[in-house]
């Protein structure tokens, strides 16, 4: 049963990711991205990271994808895509594709990561208390920096989206 769930979520996630990348319409791409995130959240649940699965759905699916959809509708971009591949970028893409394919194949066939049997290791990501303990002891400085970064990002967005008024001198 668990193996079937893993296969289902893995295939679902990959199909939706491909749909995100190849879809001509930006709204459909955003919807595929949403489904892909749901698949990743399912995989997180199977790894006992319930809090992260919940946060992924809340932050990504709830806020980020909604923001994407708002912007797509605000800009109202028509999906005209006159695909004209430049020679240089095509060569670069082919080389990158070859390298990635070779890397994935060699990892799939010969890669072996030593790991203890996870069924004996405790699912530490399952409860909320260890997170809070770690965040406010070991990772206290990153948490502070993160808060400051969010503040700066908010100020940056406000400055970027402000209408530029002509100055008195320009008038």
């Amino acid at each position: 049963m668990g193996s079937f769930l893993f296969d289902f979520f893995a295939i679902f996630t990959v199909i939706c990711a491909v749909g995100t990348v190849v879809n001509k319409n930006a709204v459909n791409a955003a919807m595929c991205f949403l489904l892909c995130l749901v698949g990743v959240a399912g995989l997180f649940v199977q790894l006992d990271a319930y809090l992260l699965a919940f946060l992924l759905l809340l932050v990504y699916a709830g806020a980020v994808v909604a923001l994407f959809l708002f912007i797509i509708m605000l800009l109202d971009v028509q999906g005209k895509s006159a695909v004209s591949f430049k020679r240089l970028s095509t060569v670069a893409a082919v080389i990158a594709a070859g390298l990635l394919a070779v890397g994935l194949c060699s990892f799939a066939t010969r890669g072996h990561l030593d790991a203890p049997n996870p069924n004996y290791a405790s699912g530490v990501g399952a409860a909320l208390k260890p997170y809070a303990y770690q965040l406010f002891t070991t990772y206290l400085l990153p948490v502070q920096i993160m808060g400051f970064l969010l503040l700066i990002a908010m100020l940056g967005v406000i400055v970027l989206s402000k209408k530029v008024e002509p100055t008195e001198a320009a008038k």
Binding site: A10, L47, A93, G103, P116, V124, L150, A153, L160
Partner: protein, 102 residues
């Protein structure tokens, strides 16, 4: 109970990362390129959670926590930049945003 091995999770994460990478490389629409970037971030979080679970530590999960925060801030700033760009140039196709090229 965990049924899939660590190799499988890391392979899946690499595959997702590759798909996002090709989205960034081949698409012309700035918004879809941005979605490809987000896809790459999510793929890396999947690998971190898998490593964390298989080693019985919490550090990977905490890092995913931080990555989620960074990604939210990044999306807000990036989309604001795209909107500002659209206001001045009337397009979001990267082919036509070539003012620095000439």
């Amino acid at each position: 109970m965990i049924h899939a091995g660590l190799n499988t999770y890391v392979l899946l994460s690499a595959l997702l990362f590759a798909i996002g990478f090709f989205g960034v490389l081949l698409r012309k629409n700035t918004l879809v390129i941005f979605m490809g970037l987000e896809l790459m971030l999510v793929a890396s979080t999947l690998a971190l959670v898998a490593f964390s679970r298989f080693n019985g530590t919490l550090d990977g999960n905490v890092f995913v926590f931080f990555i989620l925060t960074i990604a939210a801030a990044e999306v807000a700033v990036g989309l604001a930049i795209i909107v500002a760009l659209f206001r001045s140039r009337r397009t979001v196709q990267v082919d036509e945003l070539n003012a620095l090229k000439h």
